[in-house]
């Protein structure tokens, strides 16, 4: 079956090559177009005939980075997302380990509850949180955003880390017990390093999730704690003349961190997979 599949999908066949080529162009074109446009001046972008040859300019990027609003938003994003990831990992990974390895009363219910947090539409989470943070005087603070994003990162990390720990064979932990190690040493010295590649994936995934988060941030911030996606979206509201070049540049800035992280993880996974051969 697998072999048949492989023959069917022989990448050397011209037809398959052509189909693949078009798929790649289809999916990469918007990204490439955005990158190109981010280096164009506005006049070059809005011409009816697309210009492929133009003198590139860094002006859009300089403009974007020189805006205090953007600088603040970038800092906000880094601090909020970084903190939420750190807290979510520190709390979520041990929680996932406990759920995966110990028979806890109500463990299945906990697992379902964690997952159910992700079923709710973001608005359903944002409105009650908005009321709570307003009451507590935390509305539009980084603290409230960290708390909210931690809910997202922690539930995602728990959910994705449980299978990672379940894949650590019980007998390997038992070998550790026989070698005389206690439960904490077994977690830190055996299970955590073995599950690390999968856990890394879980953290990256939740990073992308909160870095790109828009709706909740829109409802919980007004001025001080705005994150990058909110501020970037505001460029569209600058007036009738949409500043396409600036918009494209900010999109690129916004997309780079997740792309870099995804690049890192794919390299990392490749190494791990090769190492295990």
């Amino acid at each position: 079956m697998g072999e048949k599949m492989a023959r069917f999908l022989n990448f050397n066949q011209p037809l398959v090559k052509i189909i693949l080529f078009f798929l790649v162009v289809f999916s990469l074109f918007p990204v490439v177009w955005t990158i190109i446009n981010s280096f164009k001046e506005l006049v070059d972008i809005v011409t009816p005939i697309p210009k492929l040859f133009f003198s590139p300019t860094m002006e859009n990027y300089i403009y974007v980075f020189s805006r205090p609003k953007i600088q603040i938003a970038l800092m906000n994003s880094v601090i909020i997302v970084g903190s939420a990831l750190m807290i979510g990992s520190i709390m979520g990974i041990p929680a996932a380990y406990a759920l995966a390895k110990y028979k806890i009363r109500g463990g299945e219910d906990i697992k379902f509850f964690v997952l159910s947090l992700r079923f709710l539409p973001p608005v359903a989470i944002a409105i009650p949180l908005m009321a709570i943070f307003l009451d507590l005087g935390l509305y539009d603070t980084k603290m409230s955003m960290v708390i909210t994003y931690t809910l997202l990162t922690m539930s995602t990390i728990i959910w994705l880390s449980i299978p990672a720990f379940e894949q650590v064979p019980q007998s390997i932990e038992e070998a550790g017990i026989i070698d005389g190690y206690g439960p904490y040493a077994i977690f830190f010295k055996i299970s955590l390093p073995i599950a690390a590649p999968a856990l890394f994936g879980a953290i990256i995934f939740s990073f992308v999730l909160v870095w790109n988060e828009f709706l909740i941030a829109l409802m919980l911030t007004t001025f001080d704690a705005k994150t990058l996606p909110i501020v970037a979206s505001e460029f569209t509201l600058l007036g009738r003349n949409v500043p396409w070049g600036i918009l494209n540049a900010s999109v690129i800035i916004l997309s780079l961190p997740p792309l870099i992280f995804l690049g890192a993880i794919s390299g990392f996974l490749n190494r791990i997979l090769k190492g295990n051969k």
């Binding site: 070998a175 026989i178 070698d179 040493a185 055996i190 390093p193 295990n276």
Partner: protein, 358 residues
């Protein structure tokens, strides 16, 4: 000095009793094999000795010390697992040294000890490699090294060869045997493979649904199986069982089968009485005969090299006889077989009437 004493050991999960009232004394330096089909409780008992499974009842002593409720590290045990259970993120050296590092032993001393073990097992070339780069046999050797390095009082093996192919299994079995002779440590070894048990054990403990069926040396268990279960489980091919009657005649007792009968030597059995009985004969003990014979028709012949395995139709059932290479009757031929008197087993209510030592 590490004798293991199990008195009245029990294990239950909720209301399900897996093992109950398990009693066994394992002598110092003895090699004991727990043998049984899956679900016989052999691994559970081993894991209870290791301390990986809580003991629900009874007392376990290792070397005069009550260890019933002690954690594994305080029991002086080392264990080798079926799937090797090596730490995949550590290289061979670290795998073996991992247990010593906990003891805050100086690095030089650890290295010295690891070198000794590694040399004994022929693993010098692999020290820097990860377990995933090794073959199954090499991995299990590393696991044995990891167990040896702690100079435990008791060695526990949980089906260590089951994941290996036949040839490697044979080779490693021999190594374990020689290793035991060299380091002379009390060993408990679990397997479902009777040939492994026969080859390695000083004593075999044959288990079935959590109960001991028989304890004895390999020869005792092979020659004097106490129950029909033991007789059936040990030996390959398995013992033939033929239903029939014991009848008393003027010339002494005879076994009467469906269409044959043969004399029985009364002195070999306890309490021979008339009535229903099952006659057991091992295929390897069958031989050609002219009289007093089991008469059947050959329906299959397998050539095994130095011998032939014959399947013979006898009344409504089939029996197997292993005969020397020279004897190779055609399929369909009639054949007459018998067995030496002292190789006949008689089972009444599944218990062997054989008088041990007779």
């Amino acid at each position: 000095m590490a004798k293991i004493i199990c008195s009245g050991i029990a294990k239950s999960y909720g209301n399900v009793e897996v093992v109950r009232d398990f009693n066994l004394d394992i002598e110092d330096k003895e090699f004991v094999v727990f043998l049984g089909p899956s679900g016989s409780g052999k691994s559970t008992i081993l894991r209870m000795i290791a301390g990986l499974e809580e003991i629900s009842g009874g007392v376990l002593k290792i070397g005069e010390k009550d260890v019933t409720h002690l954690p594994p590290k305080d029991r002086g045990v080392a264990m080798v697992f079926q799937n090797y259970a090596l730490y995949p993120h550590m290289n061979v050296y670290d795998n073996i040294a991992f247990g010593l590092k906990r003891l805050k032993m100086p690095a030089a001393e650890i290295k010295q000890k690891v070198d000794n073990v590694v040399e004994m097992l022929g693993l010098q070339a692999f020290l820097k490699q990860k377990p995933s780069q090794l073959s199954g046999g090499q991995q299990q050797r590393v696991a044995i090294g990891r167990a040896m390095i702690k100079t435990p009082e008791v060695f526990l093996f949980d089906e260590p060869l089951s994941n290996l192919d036949a040839k490697l299994r044979h080779a490693l079995r021999k190594e374990i045997h020689q290793l035991h002779k060299r380091i002379d440590t009390t060993t408990v070894y679990v397997t479902h493979d009777q040939s492994e048990a026969m080859a390695l054990a000083d004593r075999i403990v044959l288990l079935e649904s959590g109960n001991i069926e028989q304890v004895g040396s390999p020869t005792e268990i092979f020659n004097y199986p106490r129950t029909r279960f033991v007789a059936d489980f040990i030996g390959s091919p398995s013992m033939n069982f033929i239903e029939g009657q014991i009848v008393k005649t003027d010339n002494g007792y005879r076994f009467k089968g469906a269409d044959f009968d043969m004399a029985l030597d009364e002195s070999l059995y306890d309490d021979l009485q008339q009535g229903a009985v099952t006659l057991g004969i091992r295929p390897v003990h069958m031989q050609l005969s002219d009289d007093d014979a089991i008469n059947g028709e050959v329906i299959d012949l397998e050539y095994l090299g130095n011998e032939n395995s014959l399947t013979i139709k006898l009344g409504g059932q089939e029996i197997v006889a292993v005969l020397p290479e020279g004897i190779s009757p055609k399929v369909g031929a009639k054949i007459s077989l018998t067995a030496p008197q002292d190789k006949l087993h008689l089972f009444v209510n599944d218990v062997n009437l054989y008088r041990v030592g007779a």
